[in-house]
Amino acid sequence: MKCGLEIHQRLDTGKLFCRCPSAIAEREPDFRFRRKLRASAGETGEVDFAARVEQEKEKEFHYEGFAESCCLVEADEEPPQEMNPEALRIVLGVAQQLHMEPFEQLHVMRKIVVDGSNTSGFQRTCLVAAGGYLETSRGRVRMSTVAVEEESAGIVSEEAHVKNYRLDRLGIPLIELATEPDIVDAEHCKEVAEKIGLMLRATGKVARGIGTIRQDVNVSTEDGARIEIKGAQELRMIPLYVEKEVLRQERLLGVVAEIRKRLGDSALKPKAVDLTPIFAKTQCGLIRKGIEAGGHVLGIKLEGHAGLLGRELIPGRRYGTELSDYAKSAGVKGIIHSDEDFDKYGISAQEDSAARKGLGAGEEDAYVMVVAQRGMAQRALQMVVERANVRVVPAETRKANPDGTSSYMRPLAGRSRMYPETDIPPIAVGKGMLEEAMAAAGGGLEEKERKLRGMLNPEMAGRMLKSRNLQLFEELVGAGAEPMLAASTLEQTLVEMRREGLELGRPREQLMELFAEYGNGLFVKAAIPEILRGMCRGKRAREAAEGLERIGGAELKRLVKEKGGDFGKIMREYRLRVDAKELKEAIGR
């Protein structure tokens, strides 16, 4: 197997094309509005069929917004502003760490998406760099591209003709990194994802929490097509998706070859026929309910397709399932086709033959039916025909199913879905910009690792490199904290305290204060956990250190004299107030 990974990571820089913060709201929205979208031809004049079908569903989109995180830009009531310079700097920094070549002039594009997830009807996206590689234990994995794009609005719910979205997420920058298909197995996949994840976290500017990082899989086969599988929940599942996708494409090519043999290149142009009267007294629950709800049974003949729709591609998915997925994108629940077990549906032999007759379908032909409102049914069948007339493996974006299979979502975004974003002038990338990005990245992950190894033991260095606290650690050390003490406080002491149910309210400020007071000699290392406990309860460092002040200098000398120079005894009694090294020196003298 070979596959590529596509990693999307949300950046915590504020939004990409307006000056709203990247804040996710957890409350009732402040305002709502309703919109519609329509697809239009791209600059090359091609109208995307799938986009057209999507818009013909005539869905209405309802948006919920929040005063603090949504402005007129998210509402598509104001043009975008310049690209967030910090987000661009981070992307340029990551690109250079991956040995990629940034383009000399960046063009923001509009990727047409008319499912309502963007109020504008497009997602703004910008290709930043190409080429490059990532060193891994299994050799170099070539990088393909890095782009920066807008996060879409989050879907809240969907009804028959309405989709509800929230706007707080819309416009948050996403860095999108894609590798070439150089990943060889599950372990390797995990390694690549982790390495890239680490590199992104090292920027100190990535968003945290569920949904802030997503991994998609890219699979392409020689005679097949490039497929993007979205929404794989676990990295270890990825090889299974790849394996099944390769098999699916192989079998699909078999089906295509058979269709060519039977029909040549001639395209199907079937007419949809209303078969509702045939099913007036049907025992088929699915059809009966559909008709009772005011729907129609529409059918089409698929000439020369007998037996093909039932052909299995991968366990659980037949060629008919592929056609069904396309029909579903028009809003129907699914299709009924003639290679299915009609007994199971409760469709009688008489109904079958009457339908065949009505459609003029002979023994060599297959037929497909849908039950829905007339317009929706027509569009669903139109989608089936469009798909059936594709005599290659179509390039698609597919949705990962929990069982390792995938279902069609939409065509792979191609030329016909991309327009230039005319509201944003192209961005020239000069040498200065690249150097600045590299400097802001702190020399990158390798440089960071080297620095950490210089100040921590190897185990702690490895741990710190992968830690969420890396940026805070760097800040504390930068402010003069002892590296080993700062690291163990972040990675051990605070973790233990969390188990006790204690947490610092403002970790950055409070830790800065703690290490400053420690540096002043107010207390010894051993007192830190106890002082932190006090700080977790809202005390200042000085207050928390009351009764725990360090015993040193003349006071320590007096203590040594008093206790007869017994190191063990003193340490037992004054463990939290005396520094062992200092005590040894005092006794030794």
């Binding site: 329509r38 239009s40 600059e43 090359t44 104001e78 002039q105 109020t119 191609g414 030329r415 230039p420």
Partner: protein, 421 residues
């Protein structure tokens, strides 16, 4: 149809293939890759190999057949975002799509009415002049004589309210509706407001009862219904929002909702079937000026070459008159008086936009009236006052007659009552 070159670009040791697009910046080559992404390469240091040519359809820009049969409406193109396309040379949105493309791009239009389309101008609305209004009025008259049910004018939004006011004066006693419509989001975007605006405008023109010049645009941010505004009352009040157009000192003329086949009037209106009174003569020599703190008397003197002047004054209709001899301040009232005395009519409107001019309340207003500046009690917008002055001076030169006609309500631009809501 346009031809684009397919090329292979080698830059910094890396190879990219795609379509070469026209670039706005001479130093860069812009490549559209097969992924759909565009990226720029410095010409210097890039190797370009041509691989062939690809034809692309960028819209015909042609007019639809001018049938002019009874029972249909005329859709006239005057440019603007509502009929715009991406222009690749500059990468900007440009008014180049013909009304026919627009009609083709608006599914559902044919269900509302039959129509023919014609392009009058292909231009940006900020480039319009009074002469363009006159020509547009003439074209509309021709359509009315053909017997159309109504007229829809596609127009850029920036100056749509100037044109609507001008047409209101030039085309009085209309037999059919004349509806101006535009878009705040260009028609090449999926989220364009133009589609719903045009559908509603066409519905109002084909099947609505109101035979006046109106502007039909989104009523709110929702893609829902539109408001039809009276041509002399409407003003663009926001740079970007869909609901930028408001009626000033008046409710909108009507609510229009084509999906529910409704034109619900909010005001008394003129019905269909009038006999057109046409006068498109217009002066191109009128100035609309803003006063402001520190405005210089010399600036007013520099207006002596105009045939008429409209002043957008502060508050109730004021300019610096300096009755209390404040230090630094220089009154411009004597300079305005000099303009009036030399035979140039000077009218007052308020830069508050909303509310009525009243030049009785404060000294500045009184001295302006004494100087011969008129506009007292007019509730017009500065733009409508300006357009009206252009139109009145097109057929009337005598100062007294001009003043009298300016102050008489002709197309709903001056009303006597200021309603509370």
């Amino acid at each position: 149809m346009e031809r684009l070159k397919r090329v292979r670009i080698t830059s910094k040791g890396k190879v990219f293939e795609g379509l070469l697009l026209p670039s706005a910046d001479r130093d860069f080559l812009v490549l559209k890759m097969d992924s759909g992404y565009n990226a720029g390469f410095r010409k210097e240091g890039a190797k370009v190999e041509e691989l062939g040519e690809v034809k692309v359809d960028v819209g015909s820009g042609k007019d639809g057949a001018s049938g002019g049969k009874r029972g249909e409406i005329a859709i006239l193109g005057m440019g603007g975002t509502v009929c715009s396309r991406v222009e690749y040379k500059t990468g900007a949105v440009f008014p180049s799509i013909g009304p026919e493309d627009l009609a083709r791009n608006i599914p559902g239009l044919e269900k509302i009415c039959s129509f023919h389309t014609r392009e009058i101008f292909s231009m940006l609305s900020e480039d319009m002049t009074p002469q363009h209004w006159a020509e547009a009025a003439e074209e509309i008259r021709k359509e009315i004589e053909k017997g159309v049910q109504g007229i829809v004018v596609l127009h850029g939004t920036d100056t749509m309210h100037y044109t609507s006011a001008a047409l209101s004066f030039m085309l009085r006693n209309l037999p059919v509706p004349v509806v101006l419509v535009g878009a705040q989001r260009s028609s090449d975007r999926p989220s364009t407001d133009g589609r719903i605006n045009v559908l509603n405008a066409c519905f109002a023109a084909a099947r609505g009862p109101i035979a006046e010049v109106g502007v039909c645009m989104h009523a709110g941010t929702d893609d829902d219904f539109c408001h039809l505004h009276r041509g002399t009352r409407v003003r663009k009040m926001h740079t970007t929002r869909r609901d930028a157009f408001h009626s000033i000192n008046s409710p909108p003329l009507a609510r229009v909702d084509y999906r529910n086949e409704i034109v619900e009037p909010y005001l008394q209106f003129r019905g269909r079937g009038g006999k057109l009174r046409f006068d498109n003569r217009v002066s191109e020599n009128v100035a609309l000026v803003y006063t402001h703190p520190g405005v210089k008397p010399e600036f007013i003197d520099s207006l002596a070459g105009y045939d008429g002047v409209v002043v957008a004054g502060t508050g109730l209709g004021h300019v610096p008159a300096n009755p209390f001899n404040a230090k630094y301040t220089r009154s411009i009232v004597p300079n305005l008086k000099a303009l009036v005395d030399s035979g140039i009519p000077v009218a007052m409107a308020s830069q508050c936009i909303s509310g009525r001019v009243n030049m009785n309340v404060y000294t500045a207003g009184r001295v302006l009236q004494e100087a011969g500046v008129f506009g007292h009690l007019a509730d017009w917008t500065p733009e409508t006052a300006y357009v009206k002055m252009c139109w009145v001076l097109g057929h009337e030169k005598k100062m007294e007659k001009v003043r009298e006609e300016m102050m008489r309500d002709i197309a709903g631009e001056i009303t006597g009552r200021s309603e509370i809501a």
